[in-house]
Structures are given as structure tokens and as C-alpha cells.
């Protein structure tokens, strides 16, 4: 083996080792949380940390039993899980549909005011949503939307729809124009072209955008914390309940954290490729 080959092999091994370190750092907190969720109270405080232990489901039992004397949550986990899922799924359906229609319009059609309207949609993201908490609270108070899932769905849809439109631009732009024209010659209406020709071609984009939209709704804290109290409380809000006056309940907290993170992890792992395409095609094509 000559020197050049050896140097290259060593370099490549060093790069791989460094990448492994990066991977461990990226995964560690989550793995640590999942491990902690299966530990008993004594084990989770142990120093040096317990790496090997017999897994216990106590923490999950604690968060599943709401309302009774030993419970730490006002209601069982399933109640909050249902809220989060319902809000997340309906928000996704609304925001991706509305975003896709708008995105198609500004990327594929020509009409007066197109540039200005697309700047308005993308530019709306610059305004920090957290600064609209108070006016939205006042609005919702008048409309009776405080502490309702509908209220959260409306807010999240309005935040996610522009994002969906932005993310889908690259996918719409990559469809060959001839396909649409051919269908129009065949006598399809323009809505027919959109649903029969264009939508099937952007399905990967719609999937990636849906996952992203669901994640944003699933993850939100500030709006849910401010606008809900008992009935529409979602998982991120209830997770903050584990920090009590007498200290944090680490085990139940880790269990709730694990429940919140696992779906997101599964989603991103299976849709990584589309997600990367959606997040970068929008930004590369600016």
C-alpha cells in the first residue's frame, strides 16, 4: 500500500469517527429521556447513572391514570393525546389544502398582482406569531373560542397554510407545463386539470408538507398554553404540568416527552427524503 492510499484511508476513517460522535450527540438527549421514562424514581436520580436496569412501566401508568388520588395529571394521558391528534390532523387537512391551492395559483398561473400576492403569503411568516397572542385571546373571548379545539385549529391553520404554500412551490414548479396543456386540450376544466393531473404529481410534496404541518401543530406551546385551560389542553401544555411547586416529576415528565417525540421520530425517519426535498427546494429556488 503506498502512502497516498494510506493517508486517504486514515482521513476517511477519521471523518467517519467524527460523524459518529456527531450522531451520538444528536441522539443522546432523546435516548436518555426514553431510558429515564422506564426507570424507577430511585434509578433516575442515581449517580453514577444507571445504564442497565430492569425497565418499569410505572411512569406510564402514572400518566395514564388521571383524576384519582395518586394521579399527577387532572385527566388521563389519552384525553390530551386525543386533543393533540384531533387538532393536528384537522389543522393539517385545512392548511395543506388551502396552501396547495394558493401555491398552485402563484407558481403555475399568470395574473395581475401575482408577485405582490406571493410576497404577502411568504412575507406573512416574518411576523412573530407570539406577538399576536393577546389580540387573538381578545378575539376568541368574544367568539367563545377560548379553550376549544376549533380555536386552536383555526390559529394553527392560519400559521401553517402560508408555510405549506411556500414548501410546495418547488414541487409545483417542477411539473412540465406540457402535461397541463395537453389535458386542457382534451377538454378538462382547469379544476379538473388541477385535481387529475397536478395533484397526483405533487403527492410526495403534499406528504412532506402534511408531516411538517402536523408537527408544527403537535409541537406548539404558546398558543395552547394561553388559549386553553381544561377542555382543549394539548400534550405540550400538560407536559409542563410536571414541573410542580414541590419540584419536577422527572419520571412522568420523561414518559410524556417520549409520547410526544416518538410519532415525530417515526414520521421523520420514514419521510426523510421528501422532507429534505420540501425544505430545501423551497429555499434553494428562493
Amino acid at each position: 500500500m503506498n502512502r497516498g492510499v494510506l493517508t486517504r484511508k486514515v482521513t476517511s476513517l477519521l471523518i467517519w469517527a467524527a460523524t459518529l460522535v456527531l450522531t451520538v450527540i444528536s441522539l443522546f438527549p432523546v435516548v436518555w429521556m426514553i431510558l429515564t421514562s422506564f426507570k424507577t424514581k430511585a434509578e433516575s436520580f442515581q449517580i453514577p447513572p444507571a445504564w442497565l436496569f430492569s425497565p418499569s412501566l410505572d411512569n406510564y401508568r402514572t400518566v395514564m391514570s388521571g383524576g384519582d388520588s395518586v394521579a399527577i395529571l387532572p385527566r388521563p394521558l389519552t384525553f390530551y393525546l386525543t386533543n393533540s391528534l384531533v387538532v393536528g390532523v384537522i389543522t393539517t387537512i385545512i392548511s395543506v389544502s388551502i396552501g396547495a391551492l394558493a401555491s398552485y395559483s402563484i407558481t403555475r398561473l399568470t395574473f395581475p398582482g401575482r408577485g405582490a400576492l406571493s410576497v404577502l403569503i411568504v412575507g406573512s411568516r416574518v411576523l412573530p406569531p407570539i406577538a399576536t397572542l393577546m389580540p387573538i385571546f381578545l378575539m376568541f373571548r368574544n367568539l367563545g373560542l377560548i379553550d376549544t379545539r376549533l380555536g386552536l385549529i383555526l390559529i394553527y391553520s392560519s400559521l401553517n397554510a402560508p408555510f405549506a404554500a411556500w414548501m410546495l412551490r418547488g414541487f409545483f414548479a417542477s411539473i412540465p407545463r406540457e402535461l397541463e396543456e395537453a389535458a386542457q386540450v382534451d377538454g378538462s376544466t382547469r379544476l379538473g386539470v388541477l385535481f387529475k393531473i397536478v395533484v397526483p404529481l405533487v403527492l410526495p410534496g403534499l406528504a412532506a408538507t402534511s408531516i411538517f404541518s402536523f408537527t408544527l401543530a403537535w409541537n406548539d406551546l404558546p398558543f395552547a398554553l394561553f388559549l386553553t385551560s381544561t377542555e382543549a389542553v394539548t400534550l405540550p401544555v400538560v407536559a409542563t404540568f410536571t414541573r410542580t411547586e414541590v419540584g419536577t416529576l422527572w419520571g412522568p415528565m420523561a414518559a410524556l416527552g417520549t409520547v410526544m417525540i416518538i410519532p415525530i421520530w417515526v414520521f421523520t425517519l420514514i419521510s426523510q427524503r421528501w422532507l429534505v426535498e420540501g425544505l430545501t427546494s423551497g429555499s434553494v429556488k428562493g
Partner: protein, 308 residues
């Protein structure tokens, strides 16, 4: 829905509103209804409220015109400036670290020869994780008594600080936690950028005798500038409004002596704890101005031709 041109000509005899093709606007209508109701209306309400005195937690308080009183009181309050300063440090240090570490991470993944796809997926995974869950986990890890971080530091002979309980460390603890989660976004877009780079400039540089360090600075960095500008713009925008992780780590007081109080935490506190409508509206408008100025200047500094 379709409005084909009239067969007799271009339809010049028809009135203006009938000649306009409504289809593109109809597709955009639902979007603008949503934005109108939940973006335009709240901001108009904010702008108006900022000139009124109104406290929701005081039953005797009525909405009363107060002129510039809210702005005067907010802009003379020391805590406003402290939170702004903290936010600038938090955002500045965070984004710089994310760019540097993101570039290193992207280059590593780009050049990794084994298990490249699996490792990329895992390294990119923190980005979308629920910030509340991430925050709670880090609170556990930062704990001075039984946290794993100080335990690991003690193994290499370092006595770790009290992190979230030590006023001189709170802000940096926030920065590290946020950098852990959001560097993955920077890696993602820089990695995509690296995959899109042309091969030719590198080959001619090699012929000219440039080493890989020189090639990185003279070819890679300039070619990645546009995508770097987009990445920085997005991270700045989102870092300024960060609420979840600081809230979980330090609470609405911003930790001991409010040492880690961010502007967004202050805004939330004035809205949610004091229910002071007027002041929160004034702070909201200040946050928009700060966001606009910061995002615009920094993005232009990185890349002049950026447009969005």
C-alpha cells in the same frame, strides 16, 4: 369557473371586471380569508391597543385612550432593555454557532463513506422534535446535583457550574440547548447545498495546486453564500421569537435575577401574567421592528442579492 375569451374577438367590448380571469384569485381566496382573520385583524388590534390603557386582571379597568403612555413606560423600563440585550446575545451566539457547527456537520456527512444515509437521518432528527419535550429533557440533564452533564464533566475532571441556577450561566445554557436542536436545520440545508455544487471548479483548483482548505474558502463558501443567507434568515426569524425552550428551562421570570429573560418571555409574561393589553401591544410592535431590522440587515450582509 372557466371564462374563455369570447369567440367574437378578445372581448374588448365587455366591462373590465368581466375580462379578468378570476380562477387564480379564487384559488388564493381561502388563504387570504385565513390571513385576514388571524393575521391582519390581530395586528390591527395590536396597533390600536398600543395606544390604550387596559388591564384585564383589574375589573375596574376600562379601555381608555392613553396616547404614547404604553411606549413611554415600556421604553423607560430597564427590564425591556435587559431582555432585548439577552435576546441579541441569545440570537447572535446561537446563529453563529449553528452556522459554524452546521458547516462542520454538513462537510462531515458529505464526506462520510459508510452508512451515510442512516447517519444523515439520525443527525438531522433533532430539528422537528417537540421543543417542550427537548426543554424538559435538558432541564433534567442540566441539573447540578444529579444531571448527566455535570457527571460527564466530572469524569474528565471538570467541576460543572449550576447552569440554570447560576445567573452567569443561564443565558449560555439556553444557547447550548437551542444550538443542539437547531444546528440540524443548518446541516440539512448546507448538505443540500454541497450536493448541488458543480465539480469543475474543484478540479481546476486541484490542477492549480490548491489544497482542500484553500478550495473550501475560495470555492465552497462563496458558492454556498445564497443558501447560507436563506438559512441564516430563517434561523434569525425563529430564534428571535423562541419561547418554548426558554419557558421550560427558566420559566416566565427568566431564571435567577431574570438573568436569562428573553424579549419573547417578557412579552408573554406581560400578556399572560399581568394581562396588560396596552403594554403587551407596545412590546409586540417593538418585537416586529427588531425582527425586521435584524433579519434584513444580517441577510443583506451575508448575501446582497437575496430576495424573498
Amino acid at each position: 369557473m372557466d371564462s374563455p375569451a369570447s369567440p367574437t374577438g378578445l372581448g374588448t367590448d365587455r366591462p373590465f371586471w368581466k375580462r379578468i380571469d378570476l380562477f387564480p384569485y379564487m384559488l388564493l381566496a381561502p388563504m387570504f380569508v385565513l390571513l385576514g382573520a388571524f393575521l391582519v385583524v390581530p395586528w390591527v388590534v395590536n396597533a390600536s391597543n398600543s395606544f390604550y390603557d387596559w388591564k384585564l386582571n383589574d375589573p375596574t379597568s376600562v379601555r381608555e385612550f392613553a396616547g404614547l403612555q404604553n411606549f413611554r413606560s415600556v421604553l423607560t423600563d430597564e427590564i425591556t432593555y435587559r431582555s432585548l440585550r439577552n435576546t441579541l446575545v441569545f440570537v447572535g451566539a446561537g446563529v453563529v454557532l449553528e452556522v459554524v457547527l452546521g458547516m462542520i456537520g454538513a462537510l462531515l456527512l458529505f464526506r462520510t463513506a459508510f452508512m451515510k444515509r442512516v447517519l444523515s437521518t439520525l443527525v438531522l432528527s433533532p430539528m422537528l422534535l417537540t421543543p417542550v419535550a427537548v426543554g424538559l429533557m435538558w432541564v433534567f440533564m442540566w441539573n447540578a446535583l444529579f444531571g448527566i452533564i455535570n457527571y460527564l464533566l466530572s469524569m474528565i475532571g471538570i467541576q460543572g457550574p449550576a447552569w440554570l441556577a447560576d445567573p452567569s450561566w443561564t443565558l449560555w445554557t439556553l444557547v447550548i440547548t437551542e444550538v443542539w436542536q437547531h444546528t440540524s436545520y443548518m446541516i440539512l440545508i448546507l448538505l443540500a447545498g454541497l450536493h448541488g455544487l458543480p465539480k469543475d471548479p474543484y478540479e481546476s483548483a486541484k490542477i492549480d495546486g490548491a489544497n482542500s482548505w484553500q478550495a473550501f474558502w475560495s470555492i465552497t463558501v462563496p458558492l454556498l453564500r445564497p443558501i447560507l443567507a436563506i438559512g441564516i434568515m430563517f434561523r434569525l426569524m425563529f430564534a428571535i421569537r423562541t419561547f418554548d425552550v426558554p419557558y421550560v428551562l427558566l420559566g416566565l421570570q427568566g431564571g435567577p435575577d431574570q438573568s436569562g429573560l428573553l424579549f419573547s418571555t417578557l412579552l408573554y409574561r406581560v400578556s399572560f401574567q399581568s394581562f396588560d393589553v396596552g403594554r403587551s401591544a407596545a412590546l409586540a410592535l417593538i418585537l416586529v421592528v427588531v425582527t425586521g431590522v435584524l433579519v434584513f440587515t444580517v441577510t443583506k450582509l451575508v448575501y446582497k442579492e437575496v430576495e424573498l
